[in-house]
């Protein structure tokens, strides 16, 4: 119990550009990520010959976003993986985290030596109200969405409870957004590769050009407190929300025993964990922590024989700024109610004690929901191999973590990775 039957390693990872691409559909985004991944396998890979285990794929709801179901074989076919098995996994925003975990289990079990893992979501084909409606399908449609729950609204409920219990403030949330945008600026694949200051200055320039009254913003905080950062669901504002994104991610996993054929520096999947809880917030004991995340983290840490303080770089699911703070607490990086203080002290910046969301996170890189879990692992793979370019964390990190949350915490997948 609680361990893999044999070691599993990542041997390649790739990602599409994240953004709004009117001319790209799910198959196009997926092929872009796949090609990036193949290119990044150090010693090359012969997909037809080497990938014996087929495709494990995450997608939340192409059915609602684009009207297309049955994505597994469709996407496998486009990259030469048919007639091997192709399976789509769904766990809302944790869909490709789930796919990754099942791929790990498949390789560990011995049914396959090498598998392909992916995730994709095309979100921008619908107007915002339609996206909000489709995403609300990840909440309880009858008991929550029918009485007004939206995803920003549910995380706003979490934020209100966190504010009330721990004294967390909107400024604490702003700092998360500011930090993630600072990281995202260094990520050429990010949807919004700009700092909050850049965005503020861009708005000021725009007003100047149009001859309007120039806002008197001196700092990021002035801008974030202004009507240019409108409330979406109190207490969350626009810049507390992640982006609506088209994007895909892809990885190859191999049994550690064959991994050296593909790279001299495979990254070991040291621990995997998964938890669940009721969809509805009202059926939970607390709104300031996610039991699914704590459960998943506990399993992953135990399997990896690691503790929170061992983690040197982490991707956490910042679908909303409050979610990053709660994730830090659920993962044990901070005590309950203390995450905001860590962020304020700069401990989660790239040069801090525990750099978080070095790729810009869901906030700046973007959040194509079904691709996010896989994309997080792509970043940790790069950081642990030391190939994260301008955003590379210093100190040669050896242990990393990815935390992928679905819905308002109904599903969570956590993985711990180690450089061998």
């Amino acid at each position: 119990m609680g361990k893999l039957a044999r070691d599993v390693a990542i041997i390649g990872a790739g990602i599409s550009h994240f953004g709004q691409f009117p001319d790209k559909q799910n198959p196009d985004l997926w092929v872009e990520a796949f090609l990036d991944c193949v290119k990044n396998v150090d010693k090359g890979i012969d997909v037809k010959k080497d990938v014996d285990g087929g495709l494990y794929f995450g997608n939340f709801t192409a059915d609602l976003f684009t009207g297309q179901g049955h994505l597994g074989p469709m996407l496998a076919d486009l990259v030469g993986l048919t007639p091997k098995g192709a399976t789509r996994f769904e766990g809302a925003c944790a869909s490709s985290g789930l796919a990754f975990r099942q791929a790990v289990v498949a390789v560990a079990s011995g049914v396959a030596d090498v598998v392909c893992v992916g995730g994709v979501e095309k979100m921008t084909a619908l107007p915002t109200a339609g996206v909000t409606e489709a995403l609300a399908a990840a909440a309880d449609v009858v008991y929550e969405a029918r009485v007004g729950a939206t995803f920003p609204g549910l995380y706003a409920n979490v934020a209100s409870a966190h504010f009330n219990k721990y004294g967390t403030t909107s400024e604490d949330l702003f700092r998360v957004a500011i930090k993630n945008h600072e990281n995202g600026k260094l990520n050429p694949k990010a949807q919004m590769p700009m700092t909050i200051t850049d965005i503020m200055n861009q708005k000021i320039e725009k007003v100047k050009k149009s001859g309007g009254e120039v806002p008197n913003w001196k700092t990021d905080f002035d801008f974030l407190k202004s009507s240019s950062n409108p409330v979406i669901a109190y207490p969350l504002r626009l810049f507390d929300c992640s982006l609506i994104t088209d994007g895909a991610a892809c990885l190859f996993l191999a049994a550690a025993s064959v991994a050296k054929k593909f790279t001299d520096t495979p990254i070991l999947v040291a621990g995997t964990g998964q938890g669940s809880s009721s969809l509805s917030l009202h059926n939970r004991d607390t709104f300031t922590s996610f039991i699914a995340a704590k459960t998943a983290a506990d399993q992953a840490y135990k399997m990896a024989n690691a503790k929170p303080k061992d983690i040197k770089v982490a991707e956490v699911h910042d679908c909303f700024t409050i979610a990053e703070l709660v994730a830090m607490e659920d993962l044990g990086f901070a005590q309950a109610g203390k995450a905001a203080e860590m962020v304020k002290n700069g401990e989660t910046k790239r040069d801090g004690t525990i750099p978080i969301n070095t790729d810009g996170g869901l906030k700046s890189k973007g959040h194509p929901v079904g691709a996010t879990g896989a994309a997080q692992v792509v970043e940790i793979y790069k950081q642990l191999k030391g190939i994260a370019d301008k955003r590379q964390v210093k100190g040669n990190p050896e242990v990393g973590l990815a935390h992928n949350l679905g819905g308002s915490g109904g599903t969570c997948v956590v993985h711990v990775f180690k450089r061998k």
Binding site: T128, T132, Y143, P152, G153, A156, S160, A161, V231
Partner: protein, 140 residues
């Protein structure tokens, strides 16, 4: 007799349409589930029956005021100029449910306090399928 109806989501919604908030009560351990469940969430006994929670008072556990809603709420006239509030309300017996908050000012969230006393006030919504009654609360 309400006790004889099977515990199904459709029956819960039918009760709502009669302006009754019905949960389930475990006949083994006494635990109350809301929304109702055939299998008790506490002891997993399937020996459960209906319990009427309509007249219980509640307290606000958490909330949000929504400025950007789903299409269904846009169609009902809610938008950035006309936000609505919803939240989780915990009843005096410990059962909790999500509901729309009425009789509060969503534009003044600082006046909506976690812990404030609330009572049920059902929300009537006209839908293409007819009148629908949803869970709502107002200050007690």
């Amino acid at each position: 007799m309400s006790e004889e109806k099977e515990i199904l989501q459709s029956n819960y919604l039918n009760f709502l349409n009669e302006k009754k908030l019905m949960g389930s009560k475990c006949k083994k351990c006494g635990h109350v589930d809301l929304p109702p469940r055939k299998i008790c969430s506490k002891c997993l006994s399937s020996d459960t029956g209906w319990i009427d929670l309509t007249n219980l008072s509640g307290k606000l556990s958490t909330f949000s005021c929504v400025y950007v809603g789903t299409k269904r709420f846009l169609d009902r006239g809610f938008d950035q100029k006309n936000p609505y509030a919803f939240g989780v309300v915990t009843l005096e017996n410990g059962a909790a449910i999500t509901g729309l908050l009425q009789g509060v000012d969503p534009k003044k969230p600082e006046t909506i306090k976690i812990g404030m006393n609330l009572k049920l006030k059902f929300v009537e919504v006209q839908t293409p399928a007819g009148l629908q009654v949803d869970v709502g609360f107002e200050p007690a």
